[in-house]
């Protein structure tokens, strides 16, 4: 199947790499809103087109993977493109998913295409694990922990403070809270008890570090509800030790069954990712396969990870997965 990449940042680059790992897929090209000549793909053979020309290639692309941002790109991009293409996005503004679903569903049905939204790890694999675990253990309690990982939003928030040259923020799960959940203690956890925030900050020359630290720690919404640690380091240290975009987390459900609910069970799913965008890209690519297969079967409309049978994600035949993986 022929895949298009629409939008080319970290996520788009991740998709370009991931497609090479899937021999049933071929990259048709990258579509960019920038001047195509200024975009340098990771592989020399990759073609770059102008996003403005996308509809010319309607017959050449089986699935278009949308690599725009959730804040402003995808709410417009996904419905617009779903009229002409099978599309996948990683829309991750949880509260706005129902609205996005409705807009994309109407467009995809109009164009008789498949659109899969909110694909990645959260939303995505974490959502799947929440759903499976809830279906199996109706009488239970859910926990999601994130990290250790880089939060771009929090890093950006620190960078906007006066006197800050650069910054990187890590969200860290509180190990003792995780242990309590795993032990089936069903703790009620406050925001502060679940995660800590670890900041590496490069101060501009002559900046008031105490003031910067104070501003970070008291920043509403971003930091004030957390135990926050601020470390001042040099730009060299930041560039050397903090350029990666690791992330991950834990989805845990504890539940009870049996006589007087006396049996406890713990279902845990966790991810430890060196590269958040590359992993998200790998999930997008697997769901592109499913989108293609659903489209070939004549299915239309907006889908989520909840609506897609796992078999459709695998490169292997049904006979193989039953013999080798069940």
């Amino acid at each position: 199947m022929k895949i298009g990449i629409y939008g080319y940042g970290n996520l788009g680059r991740g998709v370009e790499y991931a497609l090479r790992q899937n021999e049933d897929m071929e990259l048709f090209g990258i579509f960019t809103r920038r001047n195509p000549e200024t975009v340098k793909p990771v592989f020399e053979s990759t073609k770059v087109y102008s996003a403005a020309d996308i509809t010319k290639y309607k017959e050449n692309i089986d699935v278009l993977i949308l690599c725009g941002g959730s804040a402003t790109d995808l709410p417009e991009m996904t419905p617009a493109l779903a009229r002409d293409f099978n599309v996948i996005d990683s829309f991750d503004t949880h509260a706005d998913i129902p609205k996005h679903f409705a807009a994309v569903d109407a467009a995809a049905k109009d164009g008789k295409n498949i659109a899969v939204i909110s694909v990645g790890w959260d939303p995505g694999m974490f959502s799947l694990n929440r759903l499976y675990a809830n279906a199996i253990l109706p009488d239970g309690k859910d926990y999601t922990f994130w990290g250790k990982g880089v939060s771009q939003g929090h890093s950006d928030a620190i960078r906007r403070i006066e006197g800050v040259a650069d910054a990187r923020q890590y969200t860290c799960p509180v190990e003792s809270a995780l242990e309590s959940v795993r032990n089936g203690e069903n703790p009620e956890l406050t925001t502060r008890e679940k995660h800590t925030r670890l900041c590496y900050v490069v101060a501009k020359e002559g900046a008031d570090k105490a003031k910067i630290e104070q501003e970070i720690k008291t920043m509403p919404k971003y930091f004030s509800d957390y135990d926050t640690t601020v470390n001042f380091i040099t730009q060299e240290e930041l560039d050397k030790n903090h350029t990666g975009i690791p992330h991950g987390g834990f989805v845990i459900r504890t539940g009870k069954t049996g006589e007087n609910n006396s049996s406890s069970h713990v279902i845990e799913y966790s991810l430890k990712l060196d590269s958040n965008p590359e992993f998200t890209a790998s999930v997008l690519v697997a769901y592109a396969r499913a989108a293609y297969r659903m489209h070939m079967r004549g299915d239309v409309g907006c889908k989520t990870v909840f609506d897609i049978a796992p078999a459709d994600l695998s490169i292997k035949s049904h006979e193989q997965i039953i013999a080798e993986m069940l």
Copy 2:
């Protein structure tokens, strides 16, 4: 929907409990091959019927949950009943699944029913996690560890040794091997390096304990490839501390992405279960819901966990799961 339980041991009892946790389901009754009058269900209101009469109730039962064993019961039972009922089983002889699938598929299609086979945690939830992780990280390595949990087969094997009155065997994952896998070291692990076997044995009066221990440790297939610990205890201790049927395990896939495969990722799914049969029963009940919905949509034939969209497992509406769980 109305559910029937066919076969009534630990698993059947687990289903009887689990149905009470799912308000969209109702237990029609238990079907037993024993004299129904000798079967005591956990809830007084539960009706017990003779398995011989099952076809009389064809119109009263939406899904029949088969709680027989994989060795001899299910290979006959599931195809036979799939002609008249939507059925679910927990067939767990991995090597024979393709053959079982084919037999059940023919019968279910013949009867225009849905049959879901090999539902539980392994096969079942572990299989699902192997498939998802393989689809996302094509360039990687799979690991499955079991335990700590009771193996009935190994416990039975010990009980057959001369001089043994009773026994309980626990399969335990080797913690250092788990850590190595989680650290992305991609170890090649022998059978001995992955699991140990821990045995609690009640010897008959006057029995030769050294000889029993030797016989256990050298038993081919069951114990000789493992580091095995044998503890002799009294029947009282066994009854007090080892009557539960806990189990669980870990499915881990490590994989690489990106430039020169330089990013490593670890996907881990784990279960810690106080009661193996009650948890398996809970998975069966969730898939009974999916079977019913697929049947109502006119779908027919044999399905596995790979073929069922997660949304079909949830008691919640599509709107709810998208708003609350994605």
